[in-house]
Symmetry: D2
């Protein structure tokens, strides 16, 4: 079962700068062979269910080892069985509607 | 690594009533031996990391088998290594502050 | 437009104990006249759109005033126009399916 | 109070294709004068609190008018008062750590 996920990890009790922890987590994810897209509020992941969730677990372990006593993570997870779809196709599908002008305003 | 999580599963492409799918997922979760609290916007889970995520995966498989072509799930995941904490203790900790009157208004 | 929402506020840069901030936010919400249910991973709110989001904004202002330099909030928001539904009815709808045994296992 | 937010709107009861609704919501957001970045699992927004939430409300109204009986939205909201930060700066901050090699692996 393939997953497209959005992953945001917030270390708690480490101070106001989160980027060293987020970067360590990014390295874990990239070494896991997943398709990865960093964005302003998290990281998009595409891959098989078990590989995606193993990487998320490894991130929690890594960030705790770096000294974060507590972690708060949010995940949005999409699965579909009607057809295969990539992250690029999801974006293209919305942009097609934006260009052709279909929607509420027409 | 213990997890306290909030889990909301939304089947897509099945019509406006989601409760049969949510109930099937609840059964999966309860048969997994996790601590479970259904609330108005999801289900709170407490257990070991692998058991929690195995149950979430089993929910996706079950709801797809029921006919949902597409699923959108949101998870909030809390882990901490400084001390053990249960779901009841998290609520009690906030309620203690409400009763004693500590906070911005005092 | 009525909203049923799940609200989790995480102050960042304030240390490992979040409950004083969460409790201050609870007070803000309760003084706003919304229907409120505290749970282990957040707070469920029910009310008119503008009242719910005014309370969320007031929480951010309050927690910043308490000294949190940074806040990370997650919201799940449900609206429906086909019929009116309360938080209690959402839970009862799932529990009815659990009791009658409808679902994938039957 | 400035906000950087991640917004994902899921219409319920409209079928398996969500992109026409998501595209209509994108038009609402873009006409609101916010900074906007569409990604594979949502849309990142940057702007003043009231402008961001007015756009989110307008999306719900628009998608209900298009025929969706029910909507499920998730929002991640970041505010900070210690300094100003843009979406581009958030990404650059993580990428700097990736390049310089700071983190758990070094």
């Amino acid at each position: 079962m393939k997953v497209i996920a959005d992953f945001t990890l917030v270390p708690i009790g480490t101070g106001v700068s989160l980027s060293p922890y987020v970067a360590a987590c990014e390295k874990v994810i990239r070494s896991a062979g997943l398709k990865v897209q960093l964005h302003a509020n998290g990281t998009n992941l595409e891959g098989e269910w078990d590989a995606v969730f193993a990487a998320v677990k490894r991130c929690h372990e890594t960030v705790h080892q770096m000294g974060a006593p507590r972690i708060f993570t949010t995940l949005k997870i999409g699965t579909r069985v009607d057809r295969d779809q990539t992250m690029e196709e999801k974006i293209a599908s919305v942009e097609k509607h934006l260009k052709t002008g279909s929607g509420i305003h027409e």
